[in-house]
Symmetry: C2
Subunit: 484 residues, 2 copies
């Protein structure tokens, strides 16, 4: 291995490519690029480079490859897993895509939009909207997160039940490879069986195989009608029954089916200044159901009522508030969406982002809750999320009278190990939508088979033989000849 170039040599080389305005060196300027937004992961970097074209990214990568300089790609830096910030070795250049924020094309006949990787999710959604279309990805960080990061982490959110994950919303991709070669396939095709579908290698790879610089995204028809209800259910098992009924009766109109536990609702209502609950009484479990369709409002509301009446008749539904205005819809959704911030503000939350088959979710919640409460009985069981995908955010919260730091110091590891283990035992996932980054990297040794880890390394070494791209992220070190 050659020795790394000096800071001066590196800076000059990068300035030659991206210009002086494209390089940040001073600590004050780089601080926000080397620290994750929850301020848990803080790394070091000699330089933040902000290319403004694919060609510049290619030249940056080629130079770094030739000089053995590690590179950390960064979008909106909203990873919850430390996947987008450098480690503290101080060797890795951060390549930020923020200047590549142009929408290149909108094709309303093909229902596609071509964007650079640095376009924020909210800008992509706004562009779709301006063109009378829907770009359906819906996650809390949409104002900051970028399409390249959404792709690299295969982002999920609250509309996956209807529209799929980010992987399902992309048709074509452009990627700069570790050695600077550009794989450009910005095609807007629904069908293309001409060899390996390489884009799927880079989607969800968290920037370890290449830097995504552009994408062709799918657009959807805008729904003509939306119907939303805030529903108290008898139990998580009843919620699953209701979900099945809703899917059967609505023919695919269920866009969201979000579970909310009583402690989650208590927390968020308090956070929202003691906002009123949509329902008069307190219930242990609720779901937020959203139907959308191209049909008229009346017909969709009738379907929603049919679902709720079936639920009441079967004893699954205890009470329900149906949104009667856009303001109601926004208020119901605000309650759901602010749970995350309410937790952050409160502190002392053990975040487990698990998924299991939908058929196992109720018993998973029951067992995991009982086990956590057996450890620490006053824990607030903040459980919420995308039940329709088998994915809940299972986030035990410190007791009211316990300080966050001591609670996390005592319980973070044992509780998350317990929850992850139970999810794994149900043939589930220990990271449904948040990814691996550095936070869960070493857990993979426990939850992935040796063969799967070997395969990941075989792919990594084939594409990034020098291990320069986002090193130390996603892939745990393993033994075994095939990976050496």
């Amino acid at each position: 291995m050659t020795s790394l170039p000096s800071q001066d040599v590196l800076l000059h080389a990068m300035q030659d490519i991206v210009g002086a305005n494209g390089c940040l060196v001073a600590d004050a300027d780089t601080e926000s690029f080397v620290t994750d937004y929850r301020r848990i992961y803080r790394g070091k970097s000699p330089l933040v480079v902000m290319p403004s074209s694919t060609e510049q990214v290619s030249r940056v990568m080629a130079w770094c490859y030739a000089h053995d300089v590690p590179v950390v790609p960064q979008g909106g830096n909203t990873s919850l897993m430390g996947g987008a910030v450098p480690d503290d070795s101080g060797t890795a250049v951060v390549v930020s895509l923020k200047k590549m924020n142009r929408v290149l094309d909108v094709d309303t006949v093909n229902d596609t939009m071509t964007v650079e990787a640095g376009v924020t999710l909210s800008a992509a959604r706004a562009t779709a909207d301006e063109n009378g279309r829907l770009f359906p990805l819906r996650i809390g960080s949409e104002g900051s997160c970028q399409i390249g990061g959404n792709l690299s982490t295969n982002a999920g959110g609250t509309a996956v039940l209807r529209y799929g994950n980010m992987r399902d919303l992309v048709l074509g991709i452009e990627v700069v490879l570790p050695d600077g070669r550009v794989f450009s396939s910005l095609k807007g095709l629904r069908k293309d069986n001409t060899g390996y579908d390489l884009k799927h290698l880079f989607v969800g790879a968290e920037g370890t195989l290449g830097i995504i610089t552009g994408a062709v995204l799918k657009l959807m028809p805008q729904p003509r009608a939306t119907a939303v209800a805030f529903v108290a259910v008898q139990s998580p098992a009843a919620a699953v029954q209701l979900l099945g009924q809703a899917r059967a009766l609505s023919g695919g109109a269920v866009t969201a089916f979000e579970l909310i536990s009583a402690p989650a609702l208590d927390l968020v209502l308090e956070y929202l200044g003691n906002a009123p609950s949509p329902l008069p009484a307190r219930h242990d479990w609720m779901v937020l159901i959203e139907l959308t369709s191209g049909a008229d409002e009346d017909s969709l509301n009738a379907t929603l009522m049919e679902i709720l009446e079936t639920g009441l008749g079967n004893g699954w539904v205890v009470d329900a508030a149906v949104a009667s205005s856009l303001a109601d819809i926004q208020q119901f959704w605000r309650i759901r969406e602010e749970i995350s911030d309410a937790q952050t503000r409160t502190g002392g939350s053990i975040k487990c982002d698990i998924s299991v088959p939908v058929s196992r979710i109720a018993q998973f919640i029951e067992k995991a809750s009982a086990d956590v409460l057996a450890l620490e009985p006053a824990t607030r069981m903040v459980i919420y999320g995308h039940m329709g995908d088998g994915n809940v955010h299972f986030n035990p919260l410190r007791p009211r009278d316990r300080d966050a730091k001591s609670f996390l110091a005592q319980w973070y590891k044992p509780v998350s190990d317990l929850v992850d283990g139970l999810a794994h035992a149900e043939n589930g996932s220990i990271s449904a939508e948040h990814g691996i980054g550095v936070a869960k990297r070493d857990d993979l040794r426990q939850y992935k088979s040796q063969v799967e880890l070997e395969l990941m390394w075989q792919v990594k070494r084939a594409l990034d033989p020098k291990n320069l791209l986002n090193p130390g992220r996603v892939l745990p070190q393993i033994d075994g000849a095939a990976a050496s």
Copy 2:
């Protein structure tokens, strides 16, 4: 390279693993495994091996890997591209999955079904149906083709517009790697972001990276209502407008939108014994539209009528027959589905399976038709297929008075080159759903970038360093250091 084992050694080793009943040696027995079903590709093989478990597949592969014996995986042997039969070197063992035909699990709450790779598509569809669910893949060869082959070729068909390709219908996969290791990930999760999503490597790889032995497939709610119309449209451009309107008005209920040209209709009606057309007059262009939904029949029919009336009002629709019974629906679909057999029976068909962005399909058809007719004016322009996906089967057919053999000898290559070139120029695909196999392998040199071909080889070499799995398929030989 070691020399290949003798036929005797090979046979004994395989019999040790799969038993005498699992091996076919006599030419009469192996004939149907070494010849593709259109009898265009005829190869040789010393042995057809039919394992009955993943463990047997693993042992077969480990032995062949250790002894440098090439392996050709085979499902229902319905490839149109010669992708499932061995070459004529006589060195490759055919591994048929036909004995692995068990449905392992159906989970109607999770809406998934776990199957072995040798389950036929029609058996998978029937199993879903028996459980009150829909498995939506719909292709002509469903009685013969197998789930493993559907996955390996990322099969498409007539319901992709609504439900996606086979890639979109699989959640988990089990694969035996070239060296016999088993990558087993038979999980039924909608969300799982724990490292590289390796299943996408094997889907669409046409058996060149591993042998798929099992899969977890998505199930859908059965539609409660179906509405179908056979519609004469003013032109392909008018059909595209109608499609956009149908998608906007129906909120995702458009399940199929199939274009049919007049020569395609003439051909199939004649093939069906001069069956009557659904429409009284002859028209240049027609579309078969199918809507399905969970809503009631009346509401869906009203939506269909709204679409057709909008189409009439805008001059896109010239005439329409709306199916008023299940018999009508079946008859309309029979016309569409028998076009393929009608061509085979007639002979002299130049099959081009192209896709372009939906916004380019009308002008593609116009230009390609004009160019073909300029070469041979009496050619029958049989054009049909999945317009909603931008995918048409563009299959110029010999003039009535011309024999098939001389027509194909003169025109197959120039016409398919012309059509593929025009599709490529529209940022399209030269193989939308049929794959590459050996038939289009060398065309990839022309239509893929050097970087993309290098990446394919990097992946191939990482997973199959000895190039033993389905050798000579999909990947063309290329120059360049990165691929060597």
